[in-house]
Symmetry: C2
Subunit: 348 residues, 2 copies
Amino acid sequence: MTDASPATKSFLRALKGETVTPPPVWLMRQAGRYLPEYRAVRATVKGFLDLCYSPEKATEVTLQPLRRYGFDAAILFSDILVVPDALGQAVSFREGEGPSLKPIRSSKDLDALTLEGFQDRLQPVFQTVERLHRDIPSTTALIGFAGAPWTVATYMVEGSGSKDFVQTKIMAYGRPDLFQRLIDLLVQATGDYLITQIDHGAEAIQLFDSWAGVLPEDAFARWVIEPTRRLVERIKSERPGIPVIGFPRGAGALYQPYVDRTGIDGVSLDTGIPLDWAVGSLQSKVTLQGNLDPVMVVAGGPALDAAVDRILEVCTKGPFIFNLGHGILPNTPPENVARLIDRVRSRR
Amino acid sequence: MTDASPATKSFLRALKGETVTPPPVWLMRQAGRYLPEYRAVRATVKGFLDLCYSPEKATEVTLQPLRRYGFDAAILFSDILVVPDALGQAVSFREGEGPSLKPIRSSKDLDALTLEGFQDRLQPVFQTVERLHRDIPSTTALIGFAGAPWTVATYMVEGSGSKDFVQTKIMAYGRPDLFQRLIDLLVQATGDYLITQIDHGAEAIQLFDSWAGVLPEDAFARWVIEPTRRLVERIKSERPGIPVIGFPRGAGALYQPYVDRTGIDGVSLDTGIPLDWAVGSLQSKVTLQGNLDPVMVVAGGPALDAAVDRILEVCTKGPFIFNLGHGILPNTPPENVARLIDRVRSRR
């Protein structure tokens, strides 16, 4: 890319605490199945991870939504489960069934994971970041990301997606020393992974903690806040100036201690977070990002306009990035995304 | 039952705002698959609803956990989906797959539902309430219940359980007049159903809004708070003195307006609600109920003891009922329930 000063990128300015009008906008999972050009690329590979591990194709799908909509940020196309995969816990995705891993349930299972060769196995991802750094428009910010340790650990322990997270919680509650070892490994690996993404061109980091909302407050403090705090501290210390957004989805009132204690620069709000509360309690400390219900973009029409307007009305008096409260849905009509972007950009 | 004055029942005293020591205790889904005697009765019927519609068997499974643990309250054994079933939208439960209904997607689908004969079809449930009123111990309170309109509507529109509630939200966002008709029907039907439960002996009501947490705040106000407020208003007006507990699971910071605006007497807290916040923000207005993580009861041991102690420590300075934050899990060892009850009851 043309090396425009990062300061000219509205997304990064907002993350530094500036109130930007109109606010920068991007959408979680903006590179995805709702776009026919994405589905065309997806059809050329067998497994989902094959797409994540192909620098050429992962770059292409990351760029696709930028061409259509000119988003203010692009997020590396990858998956949070490349970390366990690269640690030696092979991950597969069965069509329509979600991820499958051989579950970690014992000290012995944990011993089989290794940081040796971890970064080597992630080379394709770093190459994607490098290509994106070169190819995205000069006003578009490049976001690197990882799953937060708690959320990645749930997949590693359950061996799949889950509803109740019973096995993970049983380990966290009943064998906290063992679970701490897993979390410590993930803090180390995820830190290495993110630092290297930054070294290849990522200008900001988002930590996805999709299952943060299922823990009681003391477990939340130990398994969500503390590992996130350690990761943020390392990034701030080793790569100063790179902002971090945290997304503790479903955390409800626990967003407050999360914001107060992790050191993040921005917080991504899920759909259920009341905006007046977020503005009153969080926006003086961090940049807000969110939180349109993805179903609103499926519904479209005046209901979409009204929902966009309401978010803009409440959130744009301080630092704010427009986004969804969860990933865009596969059945979203692409023209509704255009309508949404126009609406946000017409904000004065 | 011996007609002990309701005032002697610790559960009802707590709901009237009294700080009871030790606090009354019951567990959501205390009649359930973790008990071998429940599984034995369940094996004698084909479908799950057959159990709900057998007064003799539904009474028996409601009483089983009282015999083991002497809980301070019993909740009618039934299911929230008997309401759509009795409105004419046939419900079936496939083993291990959850409920299945012919989905409501249009005005015509909605026209096919009817209040005519609704209460007649629910006679077996009312007979169960009557038997329980007669048979439960004199110090045990009898709780009637229903699903709150929003949550019941999600099953009616999706036609099954759901992860994203896309169809329901598309109707609520895109065709609010149609969705309002469905909600209005449910407010009417659910009100009739609960009033009749009270007339057969229910001494308190719990409204389960299991999917309250998936809505943005303005939709939450319209589809969760307002229908609940109307139901509570009707119960207070037609059957004064019967307390109502609301359970807007997953509502996070939206618990606050829910408590402020629905008129409920008690609020059931999910596992993720921070207790200091609940005590500070809610307990001066309503009785708190909750919120032990059900997985803690699976884990057992010192972790369970510590979690119970922490809840008792924070919540028992005001009106409080000990419970879980979600239903008890099928793989819970029954002896862990005994350990939990002993721990709560040893509170001085």
